[in-house]
Symmetry: C2
Subunit: 414 residues, 2 copies
Amino acid sequence: MTIREQALSAKKAAARLASVSTEVKNKALAAMAAALMEKKDEILAANAEDVKNARAKNIRESMIDRLTLNEKRLKEMSEGLLQVASLKDPVGEIISGTTLANGMTLTKIRVPLGVLGIIYEARPNVTSDAIGLALKSGNAVILKGGSEAILSNTAISGALADAAYSGGIPEGAVQFIKSTDRAAVKELITLTGLVDCVIPRGGAGLIRTVVENATVPVIETGVGVCHTFVDEGADYEKAVQIVLNAKCQRPSTCNALETLLVHEKAAKDFLPLMMQALKDNKVTAISDEGAFVYAPWGERATEEDWATEYGDLRLSVKIVKDVDEAIEHISRYGTKHSEAILTKNYDNARKFKQQVDAAVVYVNASTRFTDGFQFGFGAEIGISTQKLHARGPMALPELTSYKYLAEGDWIVRK
Amino acid sequence: MTIREQALSAKKAAARLASVSTEVKNKALAAMAAALMEKKDEILAANAEDVKNARAKNIRESMIDRLTLNEKRLKEMSEGLLQVASLKDPVGEIISGTTLANGMTLTKIRVPLGVLGIIYEARPNVTSDAIGLALKSGNAVILKGGSEAILSNTAISGALADAAYSGGIPEGAVQFIKSTDRAAVKELITLTGLVDCVIPRGGAGLIRTVVENATVPVIETGVGVCHTFVDEGADYEKAVQIVLNAKCQRPSTCNALETLLVHEKAAKDFLPLMMQALKDNKVTAISDEGAFVYAPWGERATEEDWATEYGDLRLSVKIVKDVDEAIEHISRYGTKHSEAILTKNYDNARKFKQQVDAAVVYVNASTRFTDGFQFGFGAEIGISTQKLHARGPMALPELTSYKYLAEGDWIVRK
C-alpha cells in the first residue's frame, strides 16, 4: 500500500471508530496488552536485530538505550495499554449546550479528531503508547517511527493491530509506515483532507521539519528552554534542592532546567550554596560575568547559551536586576514550555504568574512536574508548546475535537 | 516598518495586552466606536476612491457591493464594536483546577492566543470586526486585507488604532499591512515565533494558499459544500421551505445549501413540490438521472457538481437509497461545515447525528443557522472547518488559549 492508500484506509476506519463503544475499545486494549506479552519472543528478537544494526552503525549509546527493549520494558508497555483502558473515554462527552430563543437545541459534543499522524524517533514504546491513546480517543492512527527501530516497530504495531481488529476495532485504524525514507514524512504531513492532525515527537530538527513542511494541522511539541528564577529572600536551601531536581533528575527531558536566573540581591547568599551543589552533582555552570565569580571552575556564557536546550548536565546561570528582568529574559529566550519562580514575595509571584507566557508557570516547584502522569491525566502523548488547540501535557481529551448538534422543529432562518 | 518589524511590535504589545483589564479594553472599544463616526468623512472619502479604482478595473458588481461603505454600514461597524464591548471577556477565566496528591495546586486559566494574523479580501467591515474581537480577547492583530480596499482599510485601521492607544491599549497591538503585494501574505504566514495563529477569511483560493504555505498555525475557515437529506416520510411541505431558505436566503454564504439528497421513496411525493418551488425561486436544479425527470427544465449533474460550492442560485439534486447512502455521499463530498437531515424517523436522526462528521449537524432546520450571532455567541470571526482548536462559528473564547499555573510548597519531583 502507498502512504496515501494507508491514509484512505485509516480515514475509512476512523469514520466507523468514532462511534465504537467504550466497552469495545477497552476490551480491545486488554487484548492488545495481552498480545504484547504473547508475542514477546518475536518482538524482542526483532528489537535485538535493530540494536545489532544500530551498533554496527556506531549510533551513540544514549540512543541505543532508548532503542533497546527487554522483558521488563515490554511489560511496562503492556501495562501502559491497560492503564489507558482504565481512563475515562472522552468521546461523547456533552461539553455544553443550550436552547436558543427560536427553540433550537444546540449541543456541543466531544468527537475524535479523526486520523492522527504520529512522527517519532527511536523509542519503540512510543508505538504502543500512541496506538493505545489514539484508539481509546476514537482516532485512527498512522505511525512513522525512526528507521533505527523499524523491525521492532513493525513487530509491535503488527501485533497490536491484529489484536485490536480481533477485539472489534475497525480494520485499517492502525497504520504503520514501513518505508524508512525521509520522503515518507513529507508525504504524510501533506495529506490534506485525509490526516486531521500530525504530532511530531522528537528532537528540534524533526519538529522544525514537520512545522515547516506540513499542510495538515500540526501540534508542535517538546522543545524546552526552561528557566527558574530565584528571587531575593527565597528559601535558598530549598531553592538549591529544586534547581538540582529540575536539572539533574533526568536532564535529557524537555521539562529539565536549562537556565537559572538569580536576583542580584540573592546572589551573595544563594550562589555559593548553589554552585557548590552543582559541582557536587557534576553539573557544569555556564555563567554570565556576575555569576562566574561564584563558579570560576565552570565556563563563561555566550549569547547562544541563553537559547540552548542542553539536554545534559550543563546549566546556564545569569544574574538579573529583579523579577521584571527575569520575565523579560524568559520572554526573549524561553520556548513557552515550563518556567518557575522561587520566592516568598507575594507580589512577585503574582506578577510572574500573570506575565510569563508558557504552557506551565510554576511557583516554588520544580519544572520537572510538566508531565501528563504528574498532572494526574493518566497518560501523555506529548507536551504542546504552541497555543492553538492544546497547551502543555496532552492526554486523551487533547486528542479530540467537538461538533455542534442543532435540532429544531422544522425551522428556517429569518 | 517591514512586516517582521510590525510583527515584533505586535508581539511586544501582546505581552502587555494580555493583562490589560476588561474595564480598559471596554472603554477603548467605546472610544474606537466613536472614532469611526468622528472620522466618517475621511473614511468614506477613502472608500469612494477605492470604489472608483475598482470600477476602473472592471471588477464585478458583487465585489463592488462588498467593498462599498456608506453612512449606514459605517454605523453598523461602530455598533458592532460596542456590541463586542458588551460581551463577556474570556481572558482570565479559570477553566478548571485541582490539588494534586503532593499538595500542588494546578489551575488551568484562559489566556489570549497572542498575535493573530487575519487575511481577508475586499470587505472593509472585516477590518473593524477583526480589530474589535482581537483586542477584546487580549490579542494583538496583524491585518492583511484585499488590495481593492487598501485606502478604506488604511483609514479604518488608522482611526481605530489611534483611538485604541488613547484608550489604554498598548501601542503596536493593531498592525495593518499596507503592502498590496502577494508576497506580504507569504511573509506574514511564515513568521514562526512571532505570529501565534493565522485565520484566512475569503474564497477557496485564498484559504488554499494560506494552508499550503503557512508555517505558523492556521485555522481553516469557510468553504462549505453543505447538504440537506430529505428522508422518507418527512414533512414534505416544511422540507420545501427549509431547502428554499438554506439555498436562497443568501446563496453566497458558506452555510448555504449546495446539494439536496432525497430518499428514493420520498422522491415521488416530495420532488414535484420541491422542483416547482426551486423554479419559482429562480434556482437551477442540477440533477442526477433519477431527479432529472422531476425538473427536465434544469441541468444534468456531473461528478464535479457534487464537490462544487456554487455560491449562487444553483442546487445539485441526487436521489439516494437510504440514510446510509446519504451519510456516505456527505462523507465523500462534504467539507465538514453544515449538514442537515429532515426526518420524522428517530433512528435515522440519531444515526445521522452520530455518523456525520461536520462542524454543525442539523435535524429539521436550515443550514443557514451556522453563524456566531445565530448561535448566541454575540460575535463571529469566521467558521472553522478544521477539527484542531475550534470548530464551527468562532467568537471570543475561540481566540484564546490557556496556561497551567502550578503552585507548590517548595516541592521536587520524586
